[in-house]
């Protein structure tokens, strides 16, 4: 099966570099998460993957027209159309012939089959995201690009969407999901960690965690505040020179924070 990729992609908005020499390979049948803080470049990378116009350099290998499904961060549903009309429009735009069964199945999976006539603007935020996800999946895309579809949703809605996402990957689609939730990213096959437009780490979540230098431990009071961060009622603290900790004690969130600390220290 074909893999999709971006190679050495740099994107600028005016004088601001949004992405700098980013590489990413996207395998079919796998879920890839793009994670990073605000302004890391997640949305810009996903726009490149969706094939949208950007002032950019580099090389892209993307599916032919009509083989990409995309949910933009702003929502991507037609508010003045009903749930069913939204699906119908996508079917018409992609020139799908037999789509009604799949549409019904997708809407059932996310619990929207009960509201076919409800206008999209009358749906809750979570329902709109689920509808947007269903619309993106209707043409059975080779590449599914989802920008923060789960942000701000309740846990049940997130689970519904993850079922959709996992189903699409199981069906052979290459899925790229931008998210700020690192617990969510741990479910992905591959993770790309972005920071200020640059790739800090990429690979399987376990590999990224294993590559954390030094040790990360839980403490009640940090002894090195610059290398500590709040975690629940306690603190996590990174010791760059500490001994490696046993598997399972360092999370992807720890790895992401450590990677950003390392990057910040390298630039300061």
């Amino acid at each position: 099966m074909t893999t999709w990729s971006v190679h050495d992609v740099t994107v600028c908005f005016g004088g601001t570099v949004a992405l700098s020499h980013v590489d990413m390979t996207i395998e079919p049948g796998a879920v890839h998460c793009v994670v990073g803080g605000d302004g890391a470049g997640k949305t810009t990378l996903l726009r490149v993957l969706a094939g949208l116009k950007l002032e950019a350099t580099g090389e892209v290998r993307l599916p032919p027209p009509g083989r990409t499904g995309y949910v933009p961060p702003a929502g991507g549903v037609f508010g003045d159309l009903s749930v069913e009309e939204n699906m119908e429009f996508i079917a018409a735009a992609y020139r799908l012939r037999s789509w009604r069964d799949l549409a019904k199945e997708l809407l059932t999976r996310v619990g929207l089959d009960q509201f076919p006539d409800r206008l999209a603007r009358e749906l809750s935020g979570g329902q709109r995201r689920k509808l947007a996800g269903s619309m993106a999946l209707l043409p059975e895309p080779a590449l599914l690009v989802l920008d923060e579809v789960t942000t701000g949703l309740d846990p049940v809605s997130r689970m519904d969407l993850w079922r959709l996402i996992a189903g699409a990957a199981a069906g052979g689609a290459a899925v790229v999901l931008a998210t700020s939730y690192l617990d969510e990213a741990e479910r992905a096959g591959e993770v790309l960690l972005l920071h200020q437009g640059r790739v800090l780490a990429s690979g399987a979540p376990a590999g990224i965690v294993a590559a954390v230098p030094g040790s990360v431990v839980g403490v009640d009071q940090p002894t090195d505040p610059e290398h500590a961060w709040r975690h629940g009622s306690r603190w996590r603290q990174w010791d760059p020179a500490g001994p490696a900790v046993p598997d399972g004690q360092v999370t992807l969130e720890d790895a992401a924070i450590v990677a950003e600390l390392v990057a910040n220290e390298a630039t300061s």
Binding site: R47, G51, L52, K53, G58, T68, V71, G75, G76
Partner: protein, 346 residues
Amino acid sequence: MIVKEFRQMRRDRRTVALMVGLPVMLLIVFGYAARFDVSDIATAVVGPNATVVAGGLPSTFDVVVTDPAGTKDQAVRLLTDSKAEVAIVTGSPPTVLVDGTQLFIAQSALRRTDSLPAGAQVEVLFNPDLSTSAVMVPALIGLILLFVGTVITSLGVVREREQGTLEQLAVTPLRSVDVIVGKIAPYFAVAVIDMTVITTVGILVFDVPFRGSVLLFAAFALVYLFVVLGLGVLISTVSKSQGEAIQLAIMVLLPQVMLSGMIFPLDSMAAGVRWIGYLLPLTYFVMGMRGVFLKGSSAGALAWPLAILGLMAAVIFVLAILRFRRDLAPKQTGEIEPGELEPLPA
């Protein structure tokens, strides 16, 4: 709070432009343009002794044609073709023909009949009762089309951008031209229906005469629709929100209402302001509609307004399509070159 408000205001350039630009424009309009009294009336003098009669006219009557061999029919033709606003046919008795489609000019001329040749018979052509609705309804068609085409179209496109659906459309197999045509066609259809309703109501309810060619009317309407829809799309391509689109649409609409000759006669405006009127599409549409409805003007007589509108339509519509297309057409594969691709509006 006050400092915050000033900071926000300073950074919202369009609001500043509206706050500063609007008073300046109103000052210009009401200072130099909004004059109902006309001091220069384009006058043709035809018939025997035309030169002598022309020489004896007061300066208000700006003699543009003097033809001692001319006839009354030729004088009517001069008024029909908008080459003169008043025509004096010398003879016994002399006849003064006044163009009734230029309401304020006609009224101004009629107030000065005592300075015209003694015993002259005055005839008001095209709009004998000097009916306001007869003059305003054809112009209103242009204003309503401008509103539908510019405001409603721009809002429709901007709403798509706000909802993030424009980006989604860009990744579908729909070609840019499909999206553009699909987006504009409904507004085109609504504008045509609006135009038909206003025209019918104008003719049936307000007794506005329709003396010209339906084909010429359709030609003006078609070309003008492309201008206004193009303006709507152009506004949408430079607006991030519906509020911004409305602000810009107001800035486009208001000068047209004031300076197109729809309300205030172009001839009464100071030369420094009048040229702005000649840059506005509504000016030429109003000329065309008044010619078609009231005068029954020929295609030849209205060739210039139609040609200028056509030129405006070509430039504005093509520019609008190019800018709109730039926001769509996705890059699918291959090497990306710097500057080849433009960023989507945030």
